[in-house]
């Protein structure tokens, strides 16, 4: 069965079809893009992120997004390898410890040209924009405001008859009340984990003393401060207010290995946004408090950090499409509703107001915590020097040496300080 079709009419009609197809596709070709997105986090974050991706691609059918997520420890090697191999995803979730390192080496694109031109940051809190600015250029779009916070198991504390004032509690409280938790649980639990190796907590303590972790790429603390820090934790350890060193060493940074989740401690020292993720893993109700104060009205330790950023690869083939997605992520109420405060409280005041009423109780607590920090919080520290990630690991290792008794606090202070100096001065 054949249709009578002359060669001329065939050519004509096929040309017409081609032209029609071309007309139809030209507008899409200009925008069509396949984006790749990479972020660290757990399943809760992945579900929310992919929820927003689905909303976005439903609105922009010509853009497709392939997402990939890993745990914190595996994330950085992966991003480094992809970057070195010229295979960097278009949109990369960044942390304040690494964003400077990547930006200064030219692998992240400055976003200033997109501001007001695809990327709307007019309702962003000013400190959140400043956090994402490296050497005068906007590199990272803050995905949420977060601050250091203590997440605690309300049931375990009340069973032990321990009552802390969430915005004013102190290291002395931990020392005096801690043993009660250990007693009421028959030694199965301690009040707090061993925080001596947590860089964020150490920084908070330094700032309360009017010092800082880094200034101008150098340590802004003295060896004696480190010694005092380790002595503080040795005292807490001896009083059984915190868990044993071998229980602490099980914690590899994944949520599932945290002492709070494993039922070994009633608390965890983390960031405010993590309350949401921890609550999915702990059956008892969780509460949120500040990092312990050195004195009840001590100020300046906390700061409104950006929990993470989205940054644009400088090698991205479709920067406009990527910016479109980032803008959608931080500036549409639908996206904000899906994301909640799992990545922190939205950095845009408009989004914050839009999303807050619909949040669940835990998430409301996170928003309130950030608001309550108000005058307790100090200025955001400058972007840490390159190698900050390595020093974070070094503090953890050094804290274990002290905790297991391999080195005294008096020796560990100068030893850690020298290590910091050496690491910062070393070229890659």
């Amino acid at each position: 069965m054949t249709f009578p079709l002359s060669r001329r009419s065939f050519l004509l009609s096929s040309t017409a079809a081609l032209a029609a197809g071309a007309l139809g596709t030209i507008p899409t070709l200009a925008q069509a893009a396949n984006l790749r997105l990479i972020f660290w986090g757990g399943q809760a974050r992945a579900d929310r992120t992919y929820g927003v991706v689905d909303l976005f691609t439903a609105e922009n059918p010509d853009i497709s997004i392939d997402g990939e997520f890993l745990g914190w420890a595996d994330y950085w090697p992966k991003v480094a390898t992809q970057t070195a191999g010229g295979n960097q995803p278009d949109i990369i979730q960044m942390d304040y410890r690494y964003i400077g390192e990547y930006a200064r080496r030219g692998s992240l694109a400055p976003l200033d040209a997109f501001v007001g031109n695809g990327l709307d940051v007019s309702s962003f809190d000013e400190d959140q924009l400043r956090n994402g600015t490296i050497d005068g250029k906007l590199i990272g779009v803050s995905l949420g405001v977060a601050a250091g916070a203590t997440v605690f198991n309300t049931k375990v504390l009340s069973d032990a008859g321990v009552d802390i004032d969430p915005m004013r509690w102190t290291y002395d409280d931990l020392l005096t009340l801690g043993p009660k938790v250990s007693e009421s649980t028959g030694g199965a639990m301690a009040m707090a984990p061993d925080g001596s190796g947590i860089e964020l907590l150490f920084e908070n303590w330094l700032r309360q003393k009017g010092k800082a972790l880094y200034a101008d790429g150098q340590p802004a603390f003295a060896p004696e401060d480190v010694t005092e820090w380790f002595e503080l934790w040795t005292e807490l350890r001896n009083a059984k207010a915190i868990i044993s060193p071998d229980e602490q060493a099980i914690d590899t940074g994944q949520l599932e290995t945290a002492p709070l989740v494993r039922g070994k401690s009633a608390m965890n020292f983390t960031t405010s946004n993590q309350l949401v993720a921890y609550q999915t893993l702990v059956p008892d109700e969780l509460g949120i408090a500040i990092f312990p104060a050195t004195a009840p009205d001590s100020k300046g330790g906390h700061y409104r950090n950006s929990s993470q950023y989205f940054a644009l690869s400088s090698a991205s083939a479709s920067p406009e499409a990527a910016i479109k997605f980032i803008n959608f992520f931080v500036n549409t109420p639908e996206a904000a509703t899906v994301l909640g405060v799992e990545r922190g409280v939205p950095a845009s005041s408009t989004m914050r107001d839009a999303v807050t009423p619909s949040l669940d109780e835990r998430s409301q607590m996170v928003v309130k915590y950030i608001a309550d920090l108000g005058e307790i919080a100090g200025d955001v520290p400058p972007t840490p020097p390159a190698s900050a990630g390595e020093i974070e690991v070094a503090l953890k290792t050094k804290s274990q040496e002290v905790a297991f008794g391999a080195q005294s606090p008096a020796d560990a202070g100068p030893a850690f300080y020298d290590q910091v100096i050496e690491t910062l001065g070393r070229s890659n």
Binding site: A73, D74, W76, P77, A80, T81, T83, A84, E101, Y102, R105, G106, S107, S244, P245, D246, E247, Q248, A249, I250, T252, G253, Q254, T257, A386, S387, G389, E390, V393, K396, T397, Q400, E401, F404, A406, S427, N428
Partner: protein, 314 residues
């Protein structure tokens, strides 16, 4: 039909006169063609990266910007001013020195038991081999964490006797030993090789020895072990190299840190940290070449001394 024709046709004079090159081409080309996937893999994925890593070991290279020539800096630093290098070297050598002999002894012991002509030998052989298949997997490393954690299986067992054990896996005094135990548990592949070696030993030797009144113990030392030395030698070399390369268990169990207090900081783990965690690919390349030299030295040493203790009974 046509095949028959070709096969029965007498070789033509022309075919005998083809040039050497052409003959090589005709005869060997299919061979090389079939080897091509291997060649591509070898040059593209093994030799190429090795050469570039040798070059990079003389550079500072942060992965994100172009390498900068560093001369011998990386090597000098390693041997003069890097406590983590010496720590990781100590951990790795300790692991090699203890895990390899213990694993071989265990594998030989089980092989001797299995060689006594028991029923269901194949079942047992497969069962004992299973851990070797699972060995370096992530799942097993996580399982190990559970078994040797503070409230893990080992301590539950010990508590029956009223012993309160530490968290083996996260205590710097024991953490490396849990990894050595993990390595010994994967005795399957040397065991299979030992078993094959034991089968090679002529039975009449044992019969003669029994007639002469030699005890089983004496037979083992005078017959079994000497005749098995080539197999011991082979297994020792393979297992030593494996032990030097060991990475996954320490990586998973310590969450990639080598902690507590660097007690599980295997050399390969340190190398990985430097390369991908701390952006020092040049230094990591230098570390890799030192490891290669070290393994080569151990292997060469084993070969050189082998003539004094390995008996080839030909």
């Amino acid at each position: 039909m046509s095949i028959q024709n070709v096969a029965s046709a007498p070789p033509s004079a022309e075919a005998e006169k083809v040039s050497g090159w052409r003959r090589i081409w005709q005869q060997d080309a299919p061979g090389y063609l079939f080897l091509l996937p291997w060649f591509i893999g070898f040059f593209g994925l093994t030799l190429g990266p090795m050469i570039s890593s040798l070059y990079l070991s003389f550079n500072h290279f942060d992965l994100l910007t172009a390498p900068r020539w560093a001369g011998l800096d990386n090597y000098v630093r390693m041997f003069t001013n890097d406590p983590k290098f010496s720590a990781s070297m100590r951990v790795t050598l300790f692991f090699v020195v203890f895990s390899v002999p213990l694993k071989l002894a265990f594998a030989l012991g089980v092989a001797l038991l299995l060689n006594r002509g028991m029923k269901g030998l194949t079942v047992y052989r497969s069962l004992f081999y299973l851990p070797s298949l699972l060995g370096a997997s992530v799942a097993i490393a996580i399982l190990w964490r559970q078994i040797f954690a503070g409230d893990g299986l080992v301590n539950k067992f010990l508590s029956i006797f009223g012993i309160v054990g530490p968290s083996w896996i996260s205590n710097p005094n024991y953490s490396l030993w849990t990894l050595i135990v993990l390595s010994i548990w994967q005795f399957g592949s040397p065991m299979i090789i030992f078993l094959a070696g034991l089968r090679q030993i002529p039975q009449d030797m044992y019969e003669a020895a029994s007639l002469d009144g030699a005890s089983k113990w004496r037979q083992f030392w005078k017959i079994t072990l000497p005749l098995l030395t080539p197999v011991v030698f082979f297994n020792a070399i393979i297992q030593t190299i494996e032990a030097f390369k060991s990475f996954t268990p320490a990586f998973i169990i310590s969450g990639g840190t080598g902690n507590p207090i660097n007690s599980t900081l295997f050399y390969t783990l340190y190398l990985y940290q430097e390369a991908f965690g701390f952006f020092r690919m040049g230094y990591a390349s230098a570390l890799a070449w030192v490891l290669l030299a070290l393994v080569a030295f151990f292997t060469a040493f084993s070969f050189l001394t082998s003539k004094y203790w390995v008996h080839y009974d030909d």
